[in-house]
């Protein structure tokens, strides 16, 4: 057999898959966005299976608390960039796959460029701003999108934009993003390590089915999986509701859309501080750092700060005399809420910033730094 490769012998042997199926995988180009809990299993299985070209997009760094579920990384990788470590490890797993690493955060400026180079896009991100950004980009680019998401012990998988006749996308399911305060993420609610493994593997399976034509793709269907009961509930997503008006019409509109703003993750006139910027700026002159968590919440902040719980903020505004107010909380949601209250009250008379990702992000950054 020409081009026989022992590595894929078990694929060749599989009925209905065989050599032709493998050739289809070898020709496929798949972009995996997010190399975290979902991204790790997706990447491992796609690279092992011999997808021709695999792109990895992630801007994050490996932290200790990632390791109970993000199985591409080891303890010595803490503090290193996920995309690069993943690319190296995957290259060792299967050097025959062309692996391209994008150590960058997807935003409306690059989200049409990078995916354009690929046949299938896999959404393994962990926030709604990224999910709506990717959805809209895939609609504009007419690229099949394999969506996966988790919450506690449940996960969702769906395939969008695959069937050209019956086009369904994430906005047919949830036309607009929820408000951030109504959504909890893994940092807050926790996650059992095997769940993203299971959901990621369903996503990888969908990619393989799309590439090879095997089985039935979850096209326009939402699958919900419960890991505690193994119950699977699949619903057909209808495209009867028109969502065209919600999606940018063209590249120009898309690039002008601020998805973080739409999803309430960032607000104009309130500066988001990364852990690095926060550390630098908190000791600036005329600056006060305010913990807006309730009294006694852990971890305690081990730097100079005052504590005004969000619930008391409206009554204690007069205590804030400094020019620059830096707010923080556990995950960055309450501090953003508090920043809105301050913006309403002080307008442009004070500079208002908050620690994006909260004290959790700060701690993860410090853990990465120390090891």
């Amino acid at each position: 057999m020409e081009n026989y490769n022992e590595r894929y012998a078990r694929h060749y042997a599989l009925s209905d898959f065989g050599f032709d199926g493998q050739q289809k995988l070898l020709q496929a180009k798949v972009l995996v966005i997010g190399a975290g809990g979902l991204g790790c299993p997706v990447l491992q299985y796609l690279v092992s299976a011999g997808i021709g070209r695999v792109g990895i997009v992630d801007h994050d760094y490996i932290s200790l608390s990632n390791l109970q579920r993000q199985t591409l990384y080891t303890t010595v990788d803490i503090g290193k960039p996920k995309a690069q470590v993943a690319a190296t490890r995957l290259g060792e797993m299967n050097p025959e796959v062309k692996i391209i690493c994008y150590q960058t955060e997807l935003n409306s400026k690059n989200a049409l460029g990078i995916p354009a180079e690929y046949d299938i896009i896999v959404d393994c991100t962990d926030n709604f701003a990224a999910r709506y950004l990717i959805n809209d980009a895939c609609v504009l680019l007419k690229k099949p999108l394999v969506f996966g998401a988790i919450y506690k012990y449940e996960g969702q998988v769906a395939v969008f934009n695959w069937n050209q006749k019956y086009q369904v996308n994430y906005r047919h399911l949830f036309p607009n993003p929820p408000r951030p305060e109504d959504v909890q993420n893994c940092n807050e609610v926790g996650v059992l390590g095997v769940l993203p493994g299971m959901i990621g593997m369903i996503q990888a399976n969908e990619v393989i089915k799309i590439c090879t034509g095997l089985g039935e793709v979850l096209d326009g269907k939402l699958l919900t999986f419960n890991m505690l009961t193994y119950e699977v509930f699949t619903v057909d997503i209808s495209n009867e509701n028109s969502v065209e008006d919600l999606i940018p019409k063209n590249r120009e509109d898309f690039e002008a859309t601020d998805y973080e703003f739409l999803c309430g993750i960032s607000i104009r006139n309130i500066q988001d501080l990364s852990p690095e910027d926060f550390i630098k700026k908190k000791s600036d002159k005329y600056t006060v750092t305010v913990d807006v968590r309730e009294i006694g919440e852990l971890p305690k902040a081990d730097f100079n700060h005052i504590n005004i719980p969000l619930s008391e903020l409206n009554d204690r505004l007069s205590e804030l005399e400094d020019e620059h107010l830096i707010l923080f909380c556990q995950s960055g949601k309450r501090s953003l809420k508090a920043a809105e209250i301050l913006l309403e009250h002080f307008g442009n008379h004070k500079k208002i910033s908050h620690l994006k990702g909260g004290i959790i992000a700060l701690q993860e950054r410090n853990n990465g730094k120390n090891s």
Binding site: G36, Q156, H172, F174, D182, Q184, N185, V235, S238
Partner: protein, 76 residues
């Protein structure tokens, strides 16, 4: 009409994962749920009737229909 309700994710934590409830259509079901579970008011979720997503809330429900409440998940 008695219908069977299945709720997922955060919604199930409020309503319970499964319950039987009387409702004529989705509008009346929604109103009933909101009065029984006020915490649902600020939650986002989609309705699926007999495993098909439904946006038109005037849809009439039949005896033993299965109505699923599906919230968006974002974790990854």
């Amino acid at each position: 009409m008695e219908i069977k309700l299945i709720a997922f994710g955060q919604i199930g934590e409020i309503t319970g994962k499964e319950l039987n409830i009387e409702a004529e259509d989705l509008t009346s079901l929604k109103a009933k749920l909101l009065s029984q579970f006020p915490k649902l008011a600020d939650k986002k979720f989609a309705f699926a009737v007999n495993r098909k997503l439904v946006h038109d809330e005037t849809v009439v429900l039949n005896e033993n229909d299965i109505v699923a409440l599906m919230p968006p998940y974002s974790g990854g």
